[in-house]
């Protein structure tokens, strides 16, 4: 999940990294008090979860508190890339001598976090890596050995930074690495990390992503920051349908009915597992179908969970039928899924034979599943029908 800049700055501050004396406001008038407290020129920044703020007019420089209020009012109403701001950040305009970059991400090939550092900050680090590779240092670090300062020192020094800059940057970079690990981040980036006229360093912007699976371990932090449990922080805000899907999944730990995503077609999809869902969604679209949704059943969901998901999809306005399809299953039971989707139809007063366009789930307990499907007259296919063929049949039945 992605943090807003003002939240990320707070996380950075808690880790002991110097930040500017910023204020987060949700009301234009509140910006006045912050600007007065700062007592100098300010930067008013839209707090949205998308990039391109500057270009869209979401970042403005204000010389007086009056201007700060005016800009705050404008920006609070400004939609950027489909996002409305959560609020605005009122930031002191810093007197920056040089901008640096410090970030930590996961390297899935080395299977360790990697610190990325550059004395060329303020712009896209990938661009710097391409144009000035000797100015970008990378240093992996262990997850089982204690993180020691020399690791940060090495990566900073490798880019040519020395002197008092080096010594001031080391504790900052170590703390960034530590906060990355301790908070289960997938990305922790300070860009730019500003060196001020007096030689001190301060984080001028921060970007943090926390791993979704780890959110349960950080309830305290998330509560302090005011991040609601239901906030997914994806590229766009979740719809009611998607939130309902998440509720079905969260109701029990038995199996997964996940990643429920809304689309606007007429063919509801009760599909899985992860890989199967991706394949089937591609297949449905290839054969001209219009999915009403995406989802992923996996890990042997209970009858209750499957039923909940199927009911949600069946009840979605515009859905004519549902297709229940998966790649051959090993640990998901065909008979349990059959029970779930049929029970969903029955509880909604619908005829399973009519509402289920096709049921294609070969695999574990399929004979038992076929008994149930036959009892209720549902059209089904076994493994001799490929996933793409099943998708085609599902689309054609509409």
């Amino acid at each position: 999940m992605r943090f807003f800049e003002y939240e990320a700055r707070e996380v950075v501050k808690r880790a002991g990294i110097p930040v500017t004396d910023f204020g987060f406001v949700t009301d234009a008038e509140e910006a006045r008090a912050v600007a007065e407290r700062i007592g100098g020129p300010t930067v008013i920044k839209s707090q949205v979860l998308t990039g391109g703020r500057m270009k869209a007019g979401g970042v403005k420089f204000a010389d007086t508190p009056d201007e700060a209020v005016a800009y705050a009012a404008d920006i609070l109403k400004l939609e950027i890339n489909g996002h409305m701001p959560r609020g605005v950040l009122v930031d002191p305009k810093a007197d920056v001598a040089q901008e640096f970059y410090a970030g930590v991400v996961w390297d899935g090939i080395r299977k360790q976090p990697v610190i990325i550092f550059s004395p060329v900050g303020g712009i896209d680090i990938e661009q710097v890596a391409e144009e000035q590779p000797d100015k970008v240092g990378r240093q992996h670090f262990s997850n089982i050995l204690p993180l020691s300062e020399f690791t940060a020192k090495q990566v900073i020094a490798s880019t040519g930074v020395t002197g008092s800059d080096l010594n001031k940057l080391v504790p900052i970079v170590v703390r960034l690495a530590r906060l990355f690990v301790e908070n289960d981040m997938t990305l922790a980036e300070i860009n730019p990390l500003g060196k001020l006229a007096d030689g001190s360093f301060v984080a001028l912007d921060a970007h943090m992503d926390m791993e979704n699976e780890a959110r349960v371990r950080h309830k305290g932090l998330l509560a302090d920051l005011g991040v609601g449990d239901e906030e997914t922080r994806e590229a766009r805000e979740p719809t009611e349908f998607e939130l309902a899907g998440e509720a079905v999944d969260n109701a029990s730990h038995r199996g997964v009915a996940g990643n429920v995503t809304e689309f606007d077609g007429n063919l509801g999809l009760v599909i899985g597992a992860g890989g199967g869902s991706l394949t089937l969604f591609d297949a449905v679209r290839k054969y001209g179908g219009e999915p009403a949704n995406y989802c992923e059943i996996g890990g042997n969901p209970s009858v209750e969970k499957t039923k909940g998901l199927a009911k949600l999809v069946l009840s979605k306005p515009g859905v004519d039928k549902i297709a229940v399809m998966m790649s051959i299953v090993s640990n998901t039971r065909v008979d349990i899924v059959a029970r779930g989707v049929i029970a969903a139809c029955l509880e909604l007063g619908m005829d399973p034979a009519e509402k289920i366009s096709i049921f294609r789930i070969p695999g574990a307990w399929e004979e038992e599943g076929f008994k149930i499907l036959e009892k209720y007259g549902v059209r089904y296919a076994d493994r001799s029908t490929s996933m793409h063929e099943a998708a085609k049949l599902a689309v054609e039945a509409l």
Partner: protein, 302 residues
């Protein structure tokens, strides 16, 4: 021959009294020549039996009871406890660990993987369905109950590596039905950080005389396919590779997460289109649909 496991492999099931573990224990005992499941571990349940397998409180007790080192473990304990269980297995001499559990935070996985590397142990997974050698042994839920696994997995010479458990079986079943059986199939897991990537398993298949071709399933997100493409280019491998990629629709929806944790499309290099090109440049054939894979494999092996 096979990779990773064979008829003699001994293993335990950690979290054996859980719903999923009870199922897979039965399945592994029934499959092939019958898996040598020498114990199960669920803290507090010492003395119980699951399908005849003795349950212990600790891995140490299981090893003592067995009287000699145990080769492997299938771990099904919930995500909050998985790291502890895996560390326990490694520190009690277990060298092959299949982690079935999903939704484990990356940090924990990185720690497990790093300790395994330090101790010379190998992790398969997490969030995976395990390993199968047709007609011989299965380690994990892969293929389901014995007679279902037998339907999907015929013995042969194709090595299968897949990030998706279900697709491992789907592709294997398609291959088997076309007369191309499987040497060993490995469900490597769908997370961003996993114990064994395609490139890391290729040398094992390379050394297995029985394996004559490789089929892989892949998705957008991550760099494991790039790593495989690089491996193929740098090593004079005798094994032709056919790949299938799912999730092509995600190229049109950046920032949204579908599929596995490792599957968020963020930068241009992660898109399905780019990945397919990179695989093809390395001489890896990419199939449009699963049903095409057997023909493509036969052509590539000719």
């Amino acid at each position: 021959m096979s990779i990773l496991v064979d008829a003699e492999t001994t293993f335990i099931v950690q979290g054996i009294t859980g719903r999923e573990a009870v199922n897979l224990t039965r399945e592994c005992l029934d499959y092939g020549t019958g898996a040598k499941i020498v114990g199960g571990v669920t803290p507090g349940r010492l003395g119980r039996e699951i399908h005849g397998v003795p349950v212990f409180d600790t891995v140490q007790q299981a090893v003592e009871h067995h009287g000699s080192p145990i080769d492997g473990s299938v771990v099904t304990v919930p995500p909050a406890f998985t790291k502890d269980a895996v560390l326990e297995a490694i520190e009690n001499g277990i060298r092959l660990i299949v982690i079935v559990t999903e939704r484990i935070p990356r940090r924990d996985v990185a720690q497990m993987v790093e300790l395994a590397a330090l101790r010379g142990a190998r992790i398969i997974g997490p969030n995976c369905l395990g390993i199968i050698v047709p007609d011989v042994i299965k380690m994990g839920g892969i293929g389901g109950p014995a007679k279902d696994a037998a339907k999907s997995y015929a013995k042969g010479s194709i090595g299968v590596i897949s990030r998706s458990g279900g697709m491992t079986t789907e592709m294997s079943s398609t291959l088997s039905a076309a007369g191309l059986g499987i040497s060993t199939a490995v469900s490597i897991g769908g997370d961003a950080i996993i114990g064994s990537t395609y490139a890391e398993l290729m040398p094992l298949f390379e050394a297995d005389e029985e394996t004559k071709g490789i089929v892989i399933y892949t998705e957008p997100g991550g760099r494991m396919e790039a790593e495989l493409a690089r491996w193929k280019t740098e090593n004079n491998s005798r094994l032709p590779i056919v790949a299938f990629m799912a999730g092509k629709f995600m190229d049109e929806m950046p920032g949204m997460s579908f599929g596995h944790a490792g599957t968020i499309v963020e930068g241009k290099e992660d898109t399905a289109t780019e990945k397919i090109a990179r695989l093809q440049d390395a001489g890896i054939t990419v199939a449009e649909e699963i049903s095409q894979i057997p023909e493509l494999m036969k052509e590539a092996m000719a």
